[in-house]
Symmetry: C2
Subunit: 165 residues, 2 copies
């Protein structure tokens, strides 16, 4: 039986500055290509939003990203942040994650293994976990139902180790 991998995935790339720059460059480039395909441009506002989301060590709500981006560029608007997050989601670079407070959070999906979430209802912390075996049986159920799965949401709500005391 395969051991279920236990990984804290998120700040992986953010730890090493050089690695972070490479990661940012790679994702920026992908984003730029996607935008160009739609006749759009990678503006400095859009790049700022992407940078904020990438450098965060945790999952961010729209207003988290807005606040972070505003620090770097006080003229940036909430609508732009919103629209950029939607664009990132659209092209598969970012994904929405549920939360304990009802506000959707965002995470970078590109260049990261698939994972699901455990959400603490006390502190709001979102932990990521991978379970290839779980995926396997999920896929089996999908096949049995002849269902064409496009995306899924697997979120476990409860108390994290620290908040459980």
């Amino acid at each position: 039986m395969t051991k279920t991998a236990e990984v804290i995935l998120f700040p992986r790339h953010a730890k090493n500055p050089a690695q972070f720059r490479t990661w940012l460059a790679s994702i920026s480039s992908t984003f730029k290509k996607y935008l160009e395909g739609k006749g759009l441009n990678l503006t400095h506002q859009r790049e700022e939003v992407l940078k904020c989301l990438l450098s965060a060590g945790n999952h961010m709500s729209l207003d988290d990203v807005y606040a972070a981006a505003k620090k770097k560029d006080p003229t940036i608007g909430r609508a732009t942040v919103f629209r950029t997050l939607k664009l990132l989601e659209e092209c598969g670079l970012a994904a929405e994650v549920g939360s304990a407070d009802g506000r959707t959070r965002f995470e970078i999906k590109a260049d990261r293994p698939h994972h699901d979430h455990m959400i603490c209802i006390e502190c709001g912390r979102i932990a990521e976990f991978e379970s290839p075996m779980m995926e396997r049986f999920q896929n089996k159920a999908i096949r049995q139902h002849k269902f064409i799965a496009l995306w899924h949401r697997h979120e476990i709500f409860g108390r994290c180790e620290l908040c459980a005391k």
Copy 2:
């Protein structure tokens, strides 16, 4: 390796009228006890809401239940339906389920095995599936994280067999 059970769970009790009456009686009684514990009563409006949700062959939104209840009793209000659904949820008799259209749906949870959902983004149909093995590996991940799981949401979005053509 256990075969993943494939069950269409929902209208199970609703098929047989006698069985349905027994089921309704049992759940009504549980609900009544819960309400009495809080100094509340099982009013005819509350019972009507419960009956509507029980007899439905599919998952219902607040307004679905409201419409169904209004047919039986035109004076019933949306607020009452809302509050009753919350009460049913509170005591574990009902649960919220996501949907393709953004409106939360409700299902009866009492006396039914645990299951997750596949939601068709074309027709809105919500299929239920069970996978004990999947649960098993999910629980393993939860244990490994020393997480206290209170509830979870596992919803797969895509196209059902019919809508996939």
